[in-house]
Symmetry: D2
Subunit: 378 residues, 4 copies
């Protein structure tokens, strides 16, 4: 693991998610650039002190020398955005697979560089777009791909949060502070932090790419250095259209990612905060309520549940699903052979590049007087 | 009453709403242009046959001649959109107050003409923007105006329906048929029919006017002659921004008007389909659930309920609230004195003009390449 | 109308409910025993002063003398419980149909007397068990009777309110004061006031009679003279069993009548406070959400809606449904011919007798050490 | 671990729950009495084959000989009910702490024997009454104990499931088959399997013991050998009363454990299937919605969350909370010193005895003609 020291938010989430299924063991880490914190973290995690490193370069160099059945199998990169690229690149170049926090990098160029390395080496890079790990998101994707809703016409995806309603970054909150700092977070604030999740979710469920964007980006809280609010009209490749909004100033909202997709015959509605329930609305028939863990779900959804219906799973399990799919791919990896990402079903380097592309397109649209800005393939 | 024959949808709604409080008695009508239907309707409604007319001109002429305590006090105009202007104008010119279905007219110019007549005569014109009649909408407006949410930052208002997901107008459905006919409905389809309700609701609750619009209008169902789907980014005079969407092709949706308004301190969420419940989200405090009929509500909200909490009121009662407020103004009317619309709290001719202005601005924006189209005062 | 003076709660509810459909006109009343209040009420309701009476005896005597097409067609009795019997009996004996507030009388004996008179005269007596007037309650009854849920096994019916959590009757609240006074309310407090609604709803939906009761009655608030809380185990004639609870001390509850019925294949859940939605749970299939106003409903349910799906109806409309069905029966009434109550579908004198029987059985069970007390046909 | 072979339902749940926090490592097990299954399970779990045993006696004997820092610290017993007592007793007698599945034993006598051994040895025994592990259940308990609701008056606790609506035990379903077999499950079917959870939850939240029970036990599905349905009236030591129901034939229900508790000032409502939300109803004030992970919660609740508000936690996390609290007690254990169970807050041997007492009292009440059966301290 790179990053994830004792004060980290996402580090423990990764460790818990990786621990659920008993298939992954954390054995080494460069947890922090704060002197001593890496060591301290390693102790708290019962790690062998010899495998707790001060820098990721040191870790890769050392681990590489160890016998294959002892050394790390892959690296989790859980640092702030501006330190995603460095360790990911170094890991790949040293022959290690990588699971990296979203966004994949600080800029689209960095993302494209990582894609090149992945394509060249054949190594596996996964990205923790957690929300596509939920079983009912899999079910939604399946329903759309099977045409149960008919041709998709409308997509409304929202990610409202409220925690940045005040200038929290000035009060010592570390999570707020790096996320609102363009040097650590990148060119996008809310749009990068959570807007990318919304875009990824919409494209994942519909199987349609966003092709045009008309965006409004705001910095609502005075004194902030990045956008904390966004809304946009979007068009998809099949002609569907919709709305995407991502805001961190919707006071009182927690983490209310939700999506509604309507086709000719009906629509679905899914909310991350009650992730085990999906509403399906039908033209002229009673609404249905689909529940995680039920026998009537598709195999795709069932493969990602651990408990029977009525025993709720949550965020950590969705996160664990990304880990589970990624590590299955890692286990199946054979040097020189191409990995079938579709089969393992986890966000990969292409999603990473697309996310950076999305942020760049939104920022471009937001500063343009023209209504529509195309989101081109890169 | 003008319009509202036996096959009408909205006519009976008006009659039932007007009947609830026992303060209004239907005594005369020109119910239909279909020969004989007016008479038949009058019979079904137990009216004196002498006061059932074939045309509204005949009605106004005749009623005017009757003694003041016998003749009609006001006229309800419940015809399709293109027949709102004529009878409303005629009624006013014959000295009768008017309660007209929304939209007030077929075009902005007609609306402005009605405003001129109202201003000149001092007669009262009410508009059935039903949804602002709900008590919790009053409560929401009150909370905002008292600053309970702090300065308003975000407004999301949606009006998804699904009933026009197919080409229903070709199957003999009368409601679908005039609503999708530019000659009867006007320049806006969904945007005029339901988008105006959404805009009116947003401005009513926030007390802020929409100043700029960036709209996408679609005709999703092939063969249709007007828009059936819209989404737009909107800006308000105080700097708030948001999203408005109105669609009639969200398959499986009924009449799901809803609004979320966020200020610095918290946000409210109200849904027309469960109108007796409003959620209030607070920054750092538990969410609250406000319920219609409760003693803790403001006087403004309490004035518009008939039953105690837990005895649900609905659409007809909201409609009746418009009637009740309008008729209070009518009773208080004194020739030559100005009516204090704010005090009686019902949608009036200004709302009517504003609605037509909104439709015109949206259509203009939708056909423009420029991102923002101003919505100017007219 | 008998009762329903200016300070009455239920009087205005009756008048509004009767006014919605434009089929009933209030023309006469003995509104209060408080001298002058009847007159005052009549004025407020725009009645002909000659038809506003000080006593119901006076009213019946006078109205009877009027020509048939002028005099009242039926009487609504909306007094406190101990004054249901007198005016109902007098009305019937004077040849008027009666719609009486629930409970039908003060005691089972009185109820049986009314039944005798009804049976003898053939006149129509309706009872405002309002909650069976909701369209989705009709739908539920239909689903059960058609066997869609299979044989019924479990019935859970609850009526929690919280408004009597304190000794409200000592603070001048008139509603609380007569309801907790055994001389005005009868032998049952909460059990009579709301428990009877719950029992009626359960029997109406399931089509099964309660045959045995094991009850606990409490007076939770000190100083109160009647029960304010009850819970009981119940058995039905087909072998199903369940729980009925009715309490007025569930602090914070409004009027939360709800029922769940499970059969071999699935179950339904309906809540009065959101009456336009019914959840249907199925063994091994997705839950369904049935909505009032939808085209897919049974004719029985559709006959009792006024607005399309998504335009919520509420308590007054349910109330109006009782009036509508009752007045249809009144219109169809032919002296000497038996009324087919099943066809018109409103609560009648048998429901009234059964309600009194229920109260008496519960009180008997509550004072018994034996587990089960039979509820015998009377 | 004793039990939890490859076909087990609850074994993997224990392993995942124990794995989440990275504080527990599974190192040894006697996973099955089916020859070979233990070995196979051990392999699948990457265990050292030397520590995978055929019997628990063998495991305890062997592990005991290992050095203290290598050998197991505690044992999880995850076998069917009739094999809880044996391994638990053996573990304690060999000096190992025990975390045992609920119910603690097959009979009240066995439970009391275990209590004696625990009291004598001072070793720690935990019981996985999972549902009290949810953070909002902790919050509810705290609110009640602080008197926020006032004196408790009413308790309604329900545990409806539907999975045994048919004679599933005859179709090869292993979970159904042992649970409905009196020889493996004990004297209680649904009442033991899930009724005990409901009773435990009610007593945990209210801090009040059930003192009297009036129960109806049914075997609804023909051919079944144990009760599959129950409902009962209950009284608590402080005078509160209520209803407990536990059924496995509520067709269409998943695992819908829920509880409502009302005091003088307000009430709470919590549902296991949406465990991160608790509704608090107040007399005369707006309802509040309390959410897991929020900063405004009590320390007691916060101590049991892993993710911020809006990132849902579920069943596995609640389960992990039992493990976490139990292992904290195990770490703090000092031979000869008494463990302060209140401080660590997990279900212990007393809860186990009480659960068996509850089952026995319910069965006794169900077969009695008398209304009330006391639940005596044992």
């Amino acid at each position: 693991m790179v990053g994830g020291g004792l004060t980290s938010f996402i580090g423990p989430v990764h460790r818990k998610a990786a621990g659920i299924d008993g298939e992954i063991e954390l054995v080494a880490g460069a947890f922090s650039i704060i002197p001593g914190e890496s060591k301290e973290t390693g102790e708290a995690l019962y790690l062998d002190p010899k495998r707790v490193y001060e820098t990721y370069d040191e870790m890769f160099a050392n681990e590489k020398k160890m016998p294959e059945d002892k050394r790390i199998d892959f690296v989790s990169v859980v640092t702030p955005n501006h330190v995603h690229f460095g360790p990911s690149k170094a890991a790949l170049e040293n022959g290690f697979h990588v699971l990296v926090e979203k966004p994949i990098a600080f800029s689209l160029d960095e993302a494209k560089t990582l894609r090149e390395i992945v394509n060249k080496t054949g190594l596996i890079l996964g990205l923790t777009h957690t929300y596509t790990g939920y079983p009912l998101v899999k079910e939604a994707r399946k329903m759309v791909s099977e045409g149960k809703l008919g041709e998709i016409r409308k997509v409304y995806v929202e990610y409202p949060q409220g925690w940045l309603s005040t200038l929290l970054e000035k009060s010592g909150n570390m999570q707020a502070s790096w996320r609102t700092d363009p040097k650590q977070s990148g060119m996008g604030g809310a749009i990068g932090d959570i807007g990318t999740h919304a875009a990824n979710l919409a494209e994942y469920i519909t199987g349609q790419k966003i092709t045009e964007i008309c965006a409004l980006l705001n910095t609502v809280v005075k004194g902030r250095h990045l956008d904390d609010d966004s809304s946009m009209l979007i068009k998809f490749e099949n002609g569907a259209s919709g709305v995407l909004l991502a805001t961190q100033v919707a006071a009182g909202e927690e983490n209310n990612l939700n999506i509604r997709v309507y086709g000719e015959k009906g629509g679905i509605e899914w909310r991350q905060m009650e992730p085990n329930t999906m509403i399906v609305k039908w033209l002229g028939k009673p609404m249905e309520v689909i529940r995680a863990g039920q026998a009537y779900l598709s195999d795709e959804a069932k493969a990602f549940t651990r408990t029977p219906a009525g025993h709720p799973e949550g965020y950590l399990e969705a996160f664990a699903n990304i880990y589970r799919a990624f590590t299955k791919a890692v286990r199946a990896y054979q040097p020189g052979k191409k990995t079938d990402y579709e089969k393992f079903d986890f966000p990969d380097v292409e999603d990473g590049v697309r996310g950076m592309n999305f942020v760049q397109t939104v920022v471009q649209s937001a500063t343009s007087d023209k209504k529509w800005t195309p989101m081109k393939d890169v």
